[in-house]
Structure formats: C-alpha cells, structure tokens
C-alpha cells in the first residue's frame, strides 16, 4: 500500500536519546533524516547519525529547541515533509502543531484539537468522563451548604477523601478524611481556613488513592478508524514524580483488570479523536480500583518496554500513521510475551542528594547479549553538562519471566561503565534487590530513604584499590596493557610473577 502522504525526509525536532530513537526508526523505513541542534549539541550523536543537520541557536531551549520559526525554516531548507517532536520541548505544543499545519508540514502526532482537549487535567477529565472512563471521584462544595447536602456529597465521593480549598494550593486548608463521622468538622475547618487564606470558602472533595500505583496504557490510533491498546506499563518507581524504573506487565494487574483498563484507555483516546501513539495514565489503588489521571499526547520515554513485550516498533507505527497508512497489524494486536524492565541511567549522585553530575565521558562500555537493549545518546568524549535533562541512557531488558528480567537488568547494569561522571546505577542495583521490588509489592514511595550500604571494615577491596591507584599516581608509572610486542612495566610484571608464585607455586 503506497502512503497517501509519503514522507521521504523527516526532521527530528529534538535532541538526546529520543532524537536518536526517531532517527533509527526513520532510517529503517528508508527516510532521509534532518537533525537540528543547539550550540551545546554540535557533536551530539543525533547530529552525527542524521543525514543532514541544521543549527537552531544557543543552548537555551528558548533559543533553540523551542524555536518554532527556526524549525519550520529548517524543514523548508531541507525539503522535510514532516517533523517528529519526540517528547518534551514542543511535543505537546498545540501551537506548534498548528504552525506545522499552516506551513504544510506533517506533524507526527495527534491533532492540535486532541492535544488541547488533553492539555490540562480539568479539560481532559471533562473530555473522557462522558465516555465512561473512571476518573478520581470528586465534587465541589460551595460555602454555606447544609449538613445533609455536605454528607450526601462527601459519601458520593467516597472515603478516604481529601478536602482542599478550590481557590488555593500548597496544602492550605487541606484535610484527609477517613470516614463519614469526620466529614462535617473537617469541611468546616477547611472552608474556614480557605476563606481566611483566599477569601473564598469553596472546597473541593476528592477521593484519596492510598498506596497508589502509577500504571499507564499504551494506545495507537490511525486515520482508518482503528484505536488499539497495547497493555500497560508500571511506573511506580519514582523520585520526585520522575519515573526511574518501569516494567511491563505490571505485577499488580490481573488479566481482567488489564482488559478493563485497556478498554478505558481506548475510550479515552477515542473521546478526543486521538491519532498516533499516546498514553493514558491511571492511578491504581490498593483496592484494585483505577482512575484516569491524564493522557500524554506523545511517545513516552518508557515506550521500549511495550515494544519488547509486544515486538512492535511504536516509532515506525507513528511514522506509518503520519503518512496516512493504517497500523501495520490493524486490530490484531500481537500477543505479548515475557517481561520487560527499563532503567533510566542519569548523570546524578543518588547517594548525595541526587546532585546532577557533570564531566566528560571516558571509556563508555555498554551492555550487550541476549534480551538487552540500549537506547541512549552517550559517546566517548561526550561533555555532560547542565543544559538539558540528565538522562543519558535507557537500559531495557526482556526475559521470559519477571525474575529472570530482574537478574538480566542487574547483569546489564553491572556491565555498564560511564567513567567521568557519577550515575544512579548503584541506586538502581539496590532497588532491584529491594524485597519490595522483587516481590512486586511496591508503590511510588519505594525510593524514599534508600541509602548506600555501610562501609565494612572486613572489605579490603577499596583499601587496596585506593593504595594501588595512589601508588600508580605517585610513581607516575604508565602501566601498559599486556600485549604482544609490548613489554609490561616492571612493576606489573613483578606483581604478576609474584602472584603466580603465590598462587600456582610454579
């Protein structure tokens, strides 16, 4: 089937790993690619991988990756018929979608209208609720309602519930109510505080989801009337609302619950006339109830775990859909198999307040072997700075079952070396060994209080390692690797033969 709107040249309006990911998909489809870059990214991998590269401006996003005018000029100069926004930057800018449309450039993603409908939580809730998608129950109580009305409203929302000032924020006037008996008193106090603080005593009641798990459903929708769901991703390992480890399937979902959530996700996507790849996020309570949180109208960072389980290429599907082609598998969604986990490797010191780490990458070593996928933008000599997001690499593993996938991820993390900076790999390894994680019974609080293991006096490895490193530095001895024709420096040779004598008695 020939594409109604063929794309032969694609501009990638992003940087980092997602720009690399888009370029990979486009090249496999035979497209020519155009990278855009800021001054800070001149030597980046996406610039080197693309066929063409166009400078946008200085490092600041507002002067480069957010410059709609420059991006559309670059499309014109290079003959790119389409632009892929990646995630972040302009990916969820309805204004950008409209500018592309006006310039006659295909935007690889949903329409501006769908983007706006899902753009904020209130309009998204209003859009999906008529389609029967469960939202977190909530209701507004105006000042001066009588006790019976208050109790009826509160019981309608259900318990536990949060009472918060409609006008306010920052926790002012917020109360957690666990049962009906506490309702009247809590609302009276909250309303009073709200009146004092904001001059408006209106309060909003919202069901409080305890020990919430963050589960999202992947959807794909084409221009031929097909919207399908491709299972869930469990994203509950978070730090400051940033996802750190994701997995699929979720250890918390039953097939029945999955089917209901997939149906809700498809309904949510259809409610706004969605096209392309998108993600519907839900909060799942300890009771198994699920509630619509928001819809992400873009490809997600964690899309590879879905790709691994379903053996699909979501970026290729996006590019097919943008050309007016149907989803490659139509409604026959592949049967998922096995278990996938993603770990986001970031340049940060997780053991010292998660300080971002900067430096120049030395001898990068990435993991390989069965079931391991690396989606990154790292390279030897890369300057890791503070201009952009500090995620360097996504490690994704797939295996037959969850236990094997965890072992495989630990193995892959162990193989990864990014010398020159500090990464969160030690935190990742601790988390994968955490009994809450291995049992699957974890929620979004799992990373709180994770601390490095204590120094142990019996462990002489760091002691000897430090002394040898200093000895080498003090002696300024260059220690060459053993290789034919190269004579090892005497002290290495000596150490070796000493050791041989000690061990082998030869």
């Amino acid at each position: 089937m020939s594409a109604p709107h063929p794309i032969t040249t694609l501009l990638v309006a992003n940087r980092g790993e997602i720009a690399v990911r888009v370029i990979r998909a486009a090249h496999e489809l035979g497209m020519r690619t155009v990278a855009v870059y800021s001054d800070a990214d001149r030597t980046s991998l996406h610039v080197r991988m693309a066929h063409e590269a166009v400078r946008l401006g200085p490092a600041a996003p507002s002067e480069s990756y957010l410059r709609i005018d420059r991006i559309l000029e670059a499309c014109k100069a290079t003959g790119a018929q389409a632009v892929h926004p990646g995630y972040g930057f302009l990916a969820e800018s309805a204004e950008f979608v409209e500018a592309c449309e006006a310039a006659g450039v295909i935007f690889v993603g949903p329409s501006a209208a769908a983007m706006r409908a899902m753009g904020d939580k209130i309009s998204a809730r209003a859009t999906v609720e008529p389609s029967g998608v469960p939202v977190v129950p909530g209701a507004t109580l105006t000042e001066g309602a009588d006790d019976a009305a208050i109790l009826a409203t509160a019981c309608g929302v259900g318990f536990p519930q949060l009472v918060k000032a409609s006008a306010g924020g920052g926790g002012k006037g917020m109360r957690l109510v666990r049962e009906e008996g506490e309702v009247l008193d809590a609302i009276a106090r909250a309303s009073g505080e709200a009146l004092t603080a904001f001059g408006d005593g209106t309060v909003y009641l919202e069901r409080f989801i305890e020990e919430p798990r963050h589960v999202e459903i992947q959807v794909l929708a084409d221009n031929h009337g097909t919207t399908v769901a491709l299972g869930e991703r469990e994203c509950s390992v978070q730090r400051r609302h940033q996802k750190v480890i994701e997995e699929s399937p979720s250890p918390a979902l039953t097939p029945e619950l999955r089917a209901r959530m997939e149906a809700a996700a498809v309904a949510a996507a259809e409610s706004c006339g969605y096209r392309s790849a998108g993600t519907v996020e839900f909060l799942v309570g300890a009771d198994g109830g699920f509630h619509f949180l928001e819809m992400n109208t873009r490809i997600q960072v964690e899309h590879p775990i879905t790709e691994m389980c379903y053996r699909v290429d979501l970026l290729a599907e996006q590019l097919r859909i943008a050309q007016g082609l149907p989803i490659s598998f139509g409604r026959d969604v592949p049967v998922p198999a096995g278990h996938a986990i993603e770990a986001r490797i970031c340049a940060e010191d997780a053991d010292h307040g998660f300080m971002p780490s900067t430096g120049t990458l030395g001898a990068v070593q990435l993991p390989g072997g069965p079931g391991v996928r690396c989606d990154g933008h790292v390279y030897v000599g890369q300057e890791v700075g503070l201009d952009y997001d500090n995620m360097l690499l996504k490690l994704i593993v797939h295996a037959d079952d969850r236990a094997t996938a965890i072992e495989r991820m630990k193995r892959a993390l162990w193989e990864t070396r990014l010398p020159g900076i500090t990464t969160n790999i030690p935190l990742m390894l601790r988390t994968l060994d955490d009994p809450r994680f291995t049992s699957g019974h974890y929620d979004t609080s799992i990373l709180e209080g994770s601390a490095p293991p204590a120094e142990e006096a019996a462990d002489l490895v760091p002691v000897i390692a430090a002394a040898l490193a200093m000895h080498r530095r003090v002696r300024r001895t260059h220690v060459p690797p053993a290789s034919p024709g190269t004579r090892p420096a005497p002290w290495v040779q000596a150490g070796r033969s000493w050791w041989n004598r000690g061990t082998w008695g030869s």
């Binding site: 400051r240 053991d351 010292h352 307040g353 998660f354 300080m355 971002p356 780490s357 900067t358 030395g362 001898a363 503070l386 500090n390 993390l413 193989e415 070396r417 010398p419 020159g420 500090t422 790999i425 030690p426 390894l429 601390a451 490095p452 293991p453 120094e455 142990e456 006096a457 462990d459 002489l460 490895v461 760091p462 002691v463 000897i464 390692a465 430090a466 002394a467 040898l468 490193a469 200093m470 000895h471 080498r472 530095r473 003090v474 260059h478 220690v479 060459p480 690797p481 053993a482 090892p488 002290w491 290495v492 000596a494 150490g495 070796r496 000493w498 050791w499 004598r501 000690g502 061990t503």
Partner: protein, 176 residues
C-alpha cells in the same frame, strides 16, 4: 632475596586506619594490609582511565580520581570516598598540625553552579553523615547538599540567595 621496606599508604576505611605497604622486592610486587600479604595483579586499560586489579584472585575494575585528600573510587555498583595519604603527605600534615584526611578535606564545595535556596545548618552545629546542609537550586531542581560524614560545622561561607560557581566553598566541616 632482600626484603626492602616498601611505600606506605595510610587509608581511612569504615572508621579504621589501614596501613597498606606496597613493596617491590626482587621477586615481585607485594601488597600488605596491616602486615597481611594479598596477591595482587593490577593493570591499566589503555585510554580508558580504568584500572583492573585481581586481588585474592577476585577481578575488580574501577576508576579513581583524587580530591581533597581522598580517592574517589567508582566500582560497578558503588562509588566510595576513601581518605588516603602517603608517607610524605602524612609527615607534612603532622608537621603543620592539620586534620586527618587532607588539608582541604574539611571544605564542602559545590559540584555545580547554582543559587543557594536555603541554609540548613549554622556554625558549631554537629551534623551526622548524610544530613542536609543546604539546598542549592540548579538545573531548575532543588538539590540537597549533604554532609559527606559526621562532623561539626565550622564556617558557613554562603547565605540564602547567593549564586555560587562550581568548586565554590560552601561550608567547612571539622571532625567530631
């Protein structure tokens, strides 16, 4: 075979001091920790900044850099800070009456440019390892700067609202 006295290093680890002696005897290189010998084979991987040591037959690859009187070692699954000095360094420090772990060791410096949002400690306050000292805003995120070890706060060099460069001294920390 004559046994020469080797080079000594004084290493702080897990609250104890270890004396490591690296000896170049006629027949080979010996590593002794508090007098106990450990078979060691060490080599650098060219161009990589990495060292590989096989110690007691175990294979360990690590990166090492030196900062404020300590070796910062990065192994596969952990980064550790190991205060270390050689004999000359120790003699020099003892002569000037400096604190263990290197002269500059007491200064907590900023690893990146940012703006001080909040200072959480005051001079002469005792702090435990990992206790937040201040909050630094950088990369649009608030970052807690924590105490690398227990100690007593000496001078607080900065105040809330102040912009700091990478490497700027923030707080000095004396041993308990």
């Amino acid at each position: 075979m004559t046994t020469q006295r080797g080079t000594r290093y004084y290493v702080q680890w897990a609250g104890e001091e270890r004396v490591v002696e690296i000896r170049s005897a006629a027949g080979g290189l010996e590593v002794l920790v508090d007098g106990e010998p450990h078979p060691v084979d060490v080599t650098a991987v060219e161009d990589s900044g990495l060292l590989n040591m096989i110690v007691d037959r175990e294979s360990w690859t690590y990166g090492a850099r030196f900062e404020n009187g300590a070796a910062m070692l990065s192994f596969h699954d952990r980064e550790v800070r190991v205060p270390i000095e050689d004999e000359r360094g120790r003699l020099a420090r003892l002569a000037t009456g400096g604190a263990a772990g290197g002269a500059d060791d007491s200064e907590i410096t900023s690893v990146m440019p940012g703006i001080v949002k909040e200072v959480l400690v005051a001079a002469e306050e005792p702090v435990s390892a990992g206790q937040p000292l201040l909050i630094l805003e950088a990369m649009k995120m608030e970052n807690e700067i924590r105490a690398p070890r227990e100690g007593i706060v000496g001078t607080v060099h900065i105040e809330a609202g102040q912009a700091v460069d990478k490497g700027a001294s923030l707080v000095s920390l004396a041993p308990l």
